[in-house]
């Protein structure tokens, strides 16, 4: 009898305990991911990471300037600022989506696509070097070569850290860059700060996964977009941002 009572009590407690655990996990995750960012994966930058975790405001997005990597007209009324990780499979997919978007809206100057780096070191340790490679392509061949390199890189990488680093000079050669200069650039650390700044800016705006995009409207209003969304959703957002 006593045992039965205990069993009933245990079973009665099981439900509230489970609900509390589930609720705490979900709420914690929602709160944490909604306003903060994950660790950048660079263990030597705890202070910077802390700063990023205290924010999550779209208005902190670094303004688009001519120094950015831009496909389309910088003066386009709608700008899609994408923070991307070259080894993220969803970024690979989103690269194609964005190219389709630019085929539709880029030619007549309605939309500009701004590419910024957001390598997630914890998941893709090779992505940061690939970001450096893209900067090297830009240094050696300008904006056009940057985008050619980016398109080719996303095309050949199997994603999920699957690209052999030996492919990077081959991609450079494929897009017509001087591979000797490219390799020299690749071993330097001159773009490390620039890439880290973009990672921190992504986090400061609330990016906690890739691809992370901010659609900037005609009136300057910003819309957050997380993940590889379908082209229909991007078009809806462009229409909204154009008004």
């Amino acid at each position: 009898m006593e045992e039965n009572k205990e069993t009933i009590q245990k079973n009665t407690l099981a439900m509230p305990i489970a609900v509390v655990i589930a609720g705490a996990l979900i709420a914690g995750a929602v709160i944490y991911s909604g306003g903060k960012a994950p660790a950048s994966g660079t263990a030597n930058q705890p202070q910077q990471q802390q700063v990023a975790q205290q924010t999550g405001d779209l208005e902190q997005m670094a303004p688009v300037t001519s120094k950015d990597h831009i496909r389309g007209d910088i003066n386009a009324p709608v700008k899609i600022v994408e923070y991307s990780d070259t080894e993220c499979p969803f970024c690979k997919r989103f690269q194609d989506t964005m190219n389709d978007v630019m085929d539709t809206y880029g030619k007549d100057g309605k939309v500009a696509w701004v590419y910024r780096h957001f390598p997630i070191d914890q998941l893709h340790s090779k992505a940061r070097k690939e970001a450096v490679a893209m900067e090297c392509a830009n240094e050696l061949g300008g904006n056009d070569k940057f985008w050619e390199f980016a398109d080719r890189l996303y095309e050949v990488t199997p994603a999920n850290n699957g690209l052999d680093p030996a492919e990077l000079p081959k991609i450079a050669q494929f897009v017509g860059l001087d591979t000797a200069k490219f390799n020299t650039c690749l071993t330097s650390t001159k773009y490390d700060k620039h890439i880290q700044d973009e990672v921190e800016n992504a986090q400061a705006t609330g990016g906690n996964g890739t691809p992370w995009s901010i659609v900037v409207g005609k009136d300057g209003k910003k819309y957050p977009l997380s993940g590889a969304q379908p082209i229909s959703a991007i078009k809806q957002l462009i229409d909204l941002a154009s008004k």
Binding site: S33, Q122, Q229
Partner: protein
């Protein structure tokens, strides 16, 4: 046995409606989760035309095909369906034998949905799972997981299936005083 329980519950339209509403809600929430800020902003904004308030959130549902792997899309849909079934069945059970509710796999069911949420979040690179694990100081664990975090979604679906089985067993279980051997 499980089929008998399902027939018993779902021949009543009210429980079919409960299951459908809960399943649809879980599915929509799971797909919108990475963009809940955008959806909330658009829906609540007075500047956004009514048509856009409907069309944009609907178009985001298409991300089940673009922002999910085949595996994560499968377990997300499975979790949504199982959770809908589970809630309908537990409602059916509650109306009859409220004292025994603790034996119906409630804990298993809710842990299933909690685990499922972590798996769903992993659909986008690093979004939900990584932040959650970082929160509990275990961000590095992802590199050790062969499926990169999808394990949580699979465990979630299994736990929910177990919970559905447990409630089905209880629904079929006749209300008699058993003779102790």
């Amino acid at each position: 046995m499980i089929l008998d329980a399902l027939q018993k519950v779902f021949r009543k339209p009210a429980y079919v409606v409960i299951a459908l509403v809960v399943s649809a809600s879980v599915f929509v929430l799971a797909v919108w989760l990475p963009n809940i800020r955008l959806v909330a902003g658009v829906v609540s904004s007075s500047d956004v035309p009514f048509v856009s308030k409907i069309q944009l959130p609907l178009s985001l549902l298409g991300s089940i095909g673009t922002n999910f792997t085949p595996l994560s899309a499968t377990y997300t849909i499975a979790i949504a369906i199982l959770f809908g079934m589970y809630i309908a069945m537990i409602t059916y059970f509650l109306k009859r034998r409220i004292r025994e509710v603790g034996q119906t796999g409630v804990a298993t069911g809710f842990l299933g949905i909690a685990s499922g949420v972590l798996g769903v979040g992993c659909a986008a690179c690093g979004s939900f799972l990584l932040t959650t694990l970082t929160l509990v100081g275990a961000g590095g664990i992802l590199t050790l997981l062969p499926l990169g975090g999808s394990e949580f979604g699979i465990i979630g679906a299994i736990l929910l299936a177990v919970a559905v089985y447990m409630i089905a067993k209880k629904i079929i279980d006749p209300q008699v005083c058993k003779v102790e051997n």
